[in-house]
């Protein structure tokens, strides 16, 4: 009552000025709402237009399918699909190749983004696709048990591959450093040296595939008990444990860490893109684990034959060169790397005395203990 009376009195006292104030407030409100609506609609209309039509021909755009064409939907991770990733170039190359080979039939690659294996599998249920890119040797096990997949039909001699999951690139995992900053490690045991105190950037094995690779590597070399002791001794030398490779590598490039768990090909990015020759990979006397990237065709594909064609294309030397130069990983098809720095790394890999880089078998890892036990080890050590 008091409030209503007060308000009424106020209105009566102030007369017209309050009415004007209310009207101007209403006008301002209406103007603002109209402006906001125009901004949102404009963004939606222009944004939608930019992801279709002629602009879609440019290599850098979203990768939506051309109108009137048969569309092959490919699910992949974001850095694969980005302007600087291999996706747009591969799309352009495949569509052009197809147009030249079969002029009457238009084919278009439509990219969709999905990160991490769990989300990838869940998103596949919402957006059925013809090809999925983004599993590694650990997450493919989860994918195999989650649903059915179509055989890709390629030769059985493909490196690291079977009849459904085919590898399209890979890289040895180890430690990267900058020349002149530290004396690099030569083995897993060398990482325990006091000269690396507080200098090593690792990734959490629970959320990062390379991080898990490192842990599995230690367990394979040392056994479960030996691994526990090793990790306890390693703790003082660990600068940080990041949730992902990109966070960890960011700490390294910032100079906060002097040694980072990464790929043998990482220094090549700095050499060729940043013209920085300081970055090096430290090969160990023992075999390094390898990270393998897989693609696979779901069993509910619509354009299954086209998906198989695209799969064959991904393994061809021209596509492998694009993957090599944009993903900064080693090609599965070694022909693509001949005469390049990537080829030098491939040539260094082997078991013989002439080879400086030994690799563990990524698809039959000799880790006798299961994933849960390995991760429990990590949690018990409490980094």
């Amino acid at each position: 009552m008091v409030w209503i009376t007060t308000s009424t009195n106020a209105i009566a006292d102030s007369g017209g000025s309050v009415n004007q104030s209310v009207k101007s407030g209403l006008r301002a409100r209406a103007l603002f709402a109209a402006l906001l609506l125009i901004v949102i609609l404009a963004a939606l209309v222009f944004g939608a237009r930019l992801t279709k039509g002629p602009v879609a021909e440019a290599p850098s755009t979203s990768g939506l399918g051309k109108p009137g064409a048969r569309v092959v939907r490919v699910l992949a991770y974001s850095s694969f699909l980005s302007t600087w990733g291999p996706g747009p170039t591969l799309k352009r190359m495949f569509e052009h190749e197809r147009e030249v080979a079969k002029p009457g039939e238009r084919v278009s690659i439509e990219y969709l983004q999905a990160e991490d294996a769990g989300l990838l599998l869940a998103k596949l249920k919402v957006f059925p696709s013809d090809l999925v890119i983004g599993f590694d040797q650990f997450t493919r096990t989860q994918a195999e048990s989650d649903r059915g997949w179509t055989p890709h039909g390629m030769s059985s001699g493909l490196k690291f591959s079977d009849e459904t999951f085919f590898a399209f690139d890979w890289a040895p995992i180890g430690f990267v450093f900058r020349a002149g900053e530290i004396d690099p490690p030569k083995s897993l045991d060398d990482l325990l040296s006091p000269r690396f105190k507080g200098l090593i950037a690792l990734q959490d094995p629970r959320s990062s595939s390379p991080g898990y690779q490192f842990l599995a590597w230690v367990v394979a070399e040392k056994g479960e008990t030996g691994a526990r002791e090793y990790l306890q001794k390693l703790k003082p030398n660990v600068q940080s444990v990041s949730g992902s490779w990109s966070q960890s590598y960011g700490l390294f490039t910032r100079g906060l860490a002097k040694l980072v768990l990464s790929y043998a090909t990482s220094p090549l990015y700095h050499r060729y893109t940043e013209k920085d020759e300081r970055y090096r990979f430290a090969p160990f006397a023992t075999a390094h684990p390898a990270q393998v990237e897989y693609a696979v065709i779901p069993d509910d594909c619509k354009e299954c034959e086209l998906a198989k064609e695209f799969a064959r294309f991904l393994i061809s030397p021209p596509a492998q060169q694009v993957l090599m130069n944009k993903n900064w990983m080693l090609p599965i098809n070694a022909l693509a790397a001949e005469g390049t720095a990537f080829g030098e790394i491939i040539e260094a890999i082997g078991d013989g005395p002439a080879h400086s880089l030994k690799i563990r078998d990524p698809i039959k890892p000799d880790v006798a203990v299961g994933r849960d036990v390995v991760l429990k080890l990590w949690e018990d050590v409490k980094f």
Binding site: L44, T51, G63, S78, G118, G243
Partner: protein, 498 residues
């Protein structure tokens, strides 16, 4: 008759909102196929999560309160500028703050480091919220005390803090909830000892596809917080103003003169300083990295991302404001308000995935991505802002609404003449805050979007491709644009309030 219609309208809206906000939980239950499983180290998870969350909340609230003291000091014309500065750390990826902290104090790890990072991220936001609360509600009575000879310390001790206590508790709880959902900060600064619900849910969904674990953890978190909040629901603000104009009649200059203190500035800008230190390390390298991506040549990608950010930010802000207004104008009774105050959104992963139900079966498109991201943002942020500000606003208006209903006013009259004029400024501010947040977002987008269609997602891709400095440059641009958006919204709110 009119009251019955008001009740029907209110109940319909409340039920609609309840269904909308509970959908992500239902979605996770459906995906889990009813198989709820707790992780084996569940008790360890609860203990560690709560320890770092409660410490983070306490430290952030303390810093925020001191920062609010400075915000009260600044002139009316510069308030939005300083608020933008204060909100800066809250809208950028938390990894930026962590990098800055690691640069400054390389050896610092553990529980206190995590709390410090959360404080740097959140204290500016808390300062903005608290300063607005004090400015809007406590002016006149405190001005009177000042005239009567009370000094600043006495006014804070006897006047402001006792009345602010429930808000401080809500703010603390908000930070506790957000810390429970923190991911990269505990991982980077605490290692395997830092364990939060978000880390556990992230592992369950994104890596293992174990929806049973994710659903059970989310539900447990909800029940725990609801129970906690219900226990403390009896806290009320201090004396309810006897006239509606108690907060309005004091000028901002008057309140600032009474309560503000300049030495609160470091607490306000510390998070921003650390963020800028981290972002502006090597802009030249960042520029070269951007050139190497081809983004500067193929500007259409940047344009799409810019438009995606504009659309998601604006739509998220509008949706959030709309949901909050709907909730506030649905005449919630005391019991409904308890539930509304206690509700907590599930993790980003679950909420983001639930939004894929929107437009189910439709081919992926820019517009559907914008709609889903915006809906996800509204579902995540609306409960936070409700608890921070709207709960008390609605509680204060209860008396006026009751009087109007007794006098026979209909629901439409009450809404249009009593509720909306009072709530519009809060709605615009809330929308602006969410819009600011969404400029830098990639958490929801990385789950929902079918392509890199916002600047935040582009920055994330850059970070994953060795191009950290380029991502930092992009984030700086995002911050400026986000601040402009926030200013536009708050301008809209101040226009209404005139």
């Amino acid at each position: 008759m009119k009251n019955n219609r008001a009740n029907l309208y209110g109940r319909s809206v409340l039920w609609g909102l309840a269904i909308l906000f509970l959908l992500p939980y239902v979605f996770s239950l459906v995906l889990s196929k009813g198989r709820l499983v707790l992780p084996s180290d569940f008790l360890n998870l609860v203990w560690r999560s709560w320890l770092q969350a409660t410490l983070s909340g306490a430290l952030a609230t303390a810093f925020g309160l001191l920062g609010a003291g400075f915000l009260l000091r600044v002139s009316h014309l510069r308030t939005s500028l300083w608020e933008g500065v204060a909100l800066f750390p809250a809208v950028i990826p938390s990894g930026v703050i962590v990098l800055g902290l690691m640069d400054l104090v390389p050896e610092w790890r553990g529980l206190w480091a995590i709390a410090a990072a959360h404080t740097l991220i959140s204290s500016g936001f808390i300062a903005v919220v608290l300063a607005r609360l004090v400015r809007e509600r406590m002016g006149a009575s405190l001005e009177l005390a000042w005239v009567e000879g009370a000094n600043r310390l006495l006014m804070w001790r006897r006047g402001v803090l006792p009345r602010l206590f429930p808000e401080l508790f809500r703010v603390w709880l908000t930070i506790v909830v957000s810390s429970l959902g923190s991911f990269s900060v505990p991982l980077l600064l605490g290692g395997s000892q830092a364990y939060t619900f978000e880390i556990a849910i992230h592992h369950a969904i994104r890596l293992q596809g174990a929806w049973g674990i994710a659903a059970s953890l989310s539900l447990f978190q909800l029940f725990l917080l609801v129970a906690f909040l219900f226990l403390f629901q009896n806290l009320r603000s201090g004396q309810t103003p006897t006239t509606i104009r108690s907060g309005e009649s004091a000028s901002r200059a008057g309140v600032a003169r009474i309560l503000g203190f300049s030495w609160g500035a470091p607490f306000l800008i510390l998070g921003t300083a650390v963020s800028l230190f981290s972002l502006v390390r090597d802009p030249f390298l960042g520029w070269r990295q951007l050139q190497s991506t081809g983004l500067l040549e193929h500007r259409d990608v940047l344009l799409v991302a810019l438009q995606g950010s504009v659309a998601t930010a604006a739509l998220s802000g509008c949706l959030t404001a709309l949901l909050l207004l709907l909730a506030a104008t649905s005449f919630p009774g005391p019991r409904s308000r308890r539930w509304m105050n206690a509700y907590v959104a599930p993790s980003v992963a679950i909420t983001g995935f639930a939004t894929l139900a929107l437009g189910w079966g439709a081919p992926p498109s820019f517009n559907w991505d914008v709609a889903r991201i915006s809906l996800g943002a509204a579902l995540l942020f609306a409960p936070v802002i409700w608890r921070l500000r709207w709960a008390e606003e609605v509680s204060r208006l209860e008396g006026a609404v009751a009087v109007a209903q007794t006098l026979g006013a209909g629901s439409s009259l009450i809404i249009s003449r009593i509720l909306l004029p009072r709530l519009f400024p809060a709605a615009f501010w809330s929308g602006g805050l969410v819009a600011f947040w969404m400029w830098g977002d990639y958490a929801i987008g990385s789950i929902v979007a079918s392509r890199n269609m916002t600047l935040g997602l582009l920055a994330k891709s850059l970070m994953e491709s060795y191009r950290l400095e380029a991502a930092a440059l992009l984030l700086l641009a995002v911050l400026v644009l986000g601040a402009v958006t926030y200013r536009l919204f708050t301008w809209g709110g101040s226009s209404v309030h005139r």
